[in-house]
Every structure is written in structure tokens, then in C-alpha cells.
Amino acid sequence: MNTEDLARIIAADIPAGAYVNLGIGQPTTIARYLKPDSGVTLHTENGMLGMGEVVPAEEADWDLTNAGKQPVTELPGAAYFHHADSFAMMRGGHLDVCVMGAFQVAAGGDLANWHTGAPDAIPAVGGAMDLAAGAKEVWVMMTLFTKKGEPKLVPSCTYPLTGKACVTRVYTDVATFHLGPSGVRVVATDGITFDQLTTRLDVPLIQA
């Protein structure tokens, strides 16, 4: 399934009334599929609750951007705060859900999404480690396989970690996984069977 379809599925899974941070890139798409009556409030780490949608550059107020520095809108009931307060909110466990992209997720919930480990790469972490450590639930939105066909849900991450044992759900183009103490449960598939998943992934899977 494509990014839009996946975003729609994730949006539907976010509990009504939740406070949610959507990471830079693909997860930003989810905002478009949140129902206004769900009462979901978006947090952006650069200091705002009640963030609205991304707007085109010609409508931009450049004092009002999301974490990806895209211009956004302010919804009624919004609140602004500074960076230390914003990250206190994240680190203190007040956000119900954050959704981030990932290079790799380990079966035990380890997340790798900030550094490929390539020696010539310029490292950049932003707020990813703070979100991984702080949100009540960390969900990942990614493709299940790299362009080369390598699985990104792995027994143990080979890329440098962003956070340990923090991911509780992995939403991918072909399957959705819930991670917990009992293991990795496949809760939905799209165009792939459970048996195919067990063959292609090096991770024990539980059928939902």
C-alpha cells in the first residue's frame, strides 16, 4: 500500500483525544487523515500544541512551522511554549503517541532512525532520541524492506540506536506489527501472507 493509505490506517488507530507528535517526513502525512471530531491534538517539538496542517509556501507564516520547518497553521485552542518546556512535555511522558520513521526496528522494540553509521555521514539526531525516550507509545511508519529487499524489522539493529525497547507498533506498507513482552504479533497484512513474512523476516512472528 502507498504512504497515503498507510497514513490513513495509522490515523484511524490513534485514540480519540490523544496528544500526538508526528515525526519529520512520512509521519507528517498522517495529520491529513485525522478526523476533526477525534479531538486529537498535535504537538510539534519546536514549541506548540494544536498544530494544524502544512500550508503551501505562498500562504506561509515563517514564524509558524513544524519540526520539519514546513509552514503550518494554528488551530483554535493552541498553545505555544519554549523548547525546554516542549521537551519537558516529551521527556516527562505526557505525549500519548509519537510516530516516527525508521531505518530499523528490532523485535524487542529498539529503534534506529538517526544515523546509518556510514563513516562519511554527517550525524543529525534532532528530537528523535527525546521522543523515543519520552512518548508513552512510540509507533514506527516505514517500508518493511529496503530498496535492496533487506528487512527493516530485525532481530537486533545493526544501525546505531535512537532508543532502546521503546517501539510498540510498526506500521509498514505490507504489514502491521504490535511489539510486546510476548513477542511480535502480525495484526494486518497487505499483499503478503503470514508465511511469506516468516520466511522473509528473521524474527519470530505471532499470528493475530
Partner: protein, 220 residues
């Protein structure tokens, strides 16, 4: 999750015997008197109360102490001319006191709300407050290790709320409210007025709605 607008008695109904309750206010300014009245009516006891003072006169926190519901007070300044209910309980040995410097009280609750595990604080170094405590010299200065204070419940008082739970305060009645709101599992705010969403200036909101679980309107 979504902030609930309710009445004082319903708001406090899950407070249990033995809970730690953060109570806003500096003296009477910012004290959530009607929420405390509801707590007295509700009946939970054996409480640990975290508040700057130990009650004034015969209302609010003083009434809760007088009713024998408080096992332990965590506060910075229990000794006031009108804190006779605390004085009596303390001298009778029926209430325990943990004395915390005022800034440490605020910062330890801030740490709880901000996910800080512990912090090194210069306050109280070389005083009885630091006796037997872990200290460390950092860049030539001595600090004491301080730990977060978390509440099961926070009872605070603000000025105006919108229906989402965003809060603004009034003058020095702001005091401990914003910090306590972040440090409790369940935060209940008493306000003078609830307005529609969009009526508060987003630049001037002091406590964002994410920190407020229940709202009670009590005309000032």
C-alpha cells in the same frame, strides 16, 4: 487525553487512602479551596500532601489537616501565625513533616513532570537539609542530589480555562499551579471561568491542556 469538565465531588472521587496529593497555592493565593472541601467530603485519608504551607486559618488545607486526613506534609514553610491546625497535629505527633526548601519543592516537582531522574542542586549545601545526603563537587561548587516529587493527584487553582483545559492564572496566584499540573498522574484544576476554545491567546497560555485532566468551574 480529553479534559473532562465536572463538579468538585466527581472530580476528586478516585483519590484513595494513602495517595500523594499536590496542593497548589502560596498561603491562600492559588489554593483550590472548593476542591479540598470536596476531598474532605469524599473522605480519603492517610494522605501525603505536598504544598508550600501547612494550611492557613480553618479552611482549605487547614481544614483537611484538622479533619485528620493528612499523614505527612511535604512543605517549605509550615510555621505561620495561622497554621494552628498543623501546629496542633505536629505537636501531638499525629502528622509527619518533610521540610523542603521552597525552590527544591518547585524544582523536584518540575523534574517529575519533565522526566528528569534526579538533579544536583546548590541549595542547602552545608546545612542540616543536606546532612547524610549524596553530594558532588562540579566545577568547584558543591551540590546536593535531589529527586523528583510525583503526585498521584494535583489539585490546583487557575483563573480561566478553555474547554480543552488550557489554563491562565492571575498574578501571584500562579505560583505552584503550573509545576504541579505537570507532576501528577491526575491533574484537577479549579478555575473561576471556563471559556470556549479559541478565546484564550495561544501566546499567553501558561498550562497547556495536555496537563489538565479535569476542570471544575467555581465562580470567584
Amino acid at each position: 487525553m480529553k479534559t473532562e469538565v465536572t463538579d468538585p465531588v466527581t472530580a476528586v472521587k478516585e483519590i484513595k487512602d494513602g495517595d500523594t496529593v499536590l496542593v497548589g497555592g502560596f498561603g491562600m493565593a492559588g489554593m483550590p479551596v472548593e476542591l479540598i472541601d470536596a476531598l474532605i467530603e469524599h473522605g480519603a485519608g492517610d494522605l501525603t500532601i505536598v504544598s508550600n504551607n501547612a494550611g492557613n486559618g480553618d479552611t482549605g488545607l487547614a481544614a483537611l489537616i484538622a479533619a485528620g486526613r493528612v499523614r505527612k506534609m511535604v512543605c517549605s514553610f509550615p510555621r505561620q501565625a495561622d497554621s494552628w491546625h498543623f501546629d496542633a497535629a505536629y505537636r501531638a505527633g499525629t502528622i509527619e513533616l518533610e521540610l523542603v526548601p521552597q525552590g527544591n519543592l518547585a524544582e523536584r516537582m518540575r523534574a517529575a513532570g519533565a522526566g528528569i531522574g534526579a538533579f544536583y542542586c546548590p541549595t542547602g549545601v552545608g546545612t542540616p537539609i543536606a546532612e547524610g545526603r549524596e553530594t558532588r563537587v562540579i566545577d568547584g561548587r558543591e551540590y546536593v542530589l535531589e529527586h523528583p516529587i510525583r503526585g498521584d493527584v494535583a489539585l490546583i487553582r487557575a483563573h480561566v480555562a478553555d474547554r480543552l483545559g488550557n489554563l491562565v492564572y492571575r498574578k501571584t496566584a500562579r505560583n505552584f499551579g503550573p509545576v504541579m499540573a505537570t507532576a501528577a498522574t491526575l491533574t484537577i484544576a479549579q478555575v473561576s471561568r471556563i471559556v470556549e476554545v479559541g478565546e484564550l491567546d495561544p501566546e499567553a497560555v501558561v498550562t497547556p491542556s495536555i496537563y489538565v485532566n479535569r476542570l471544575v468551574e467555581v465562580a470567584a
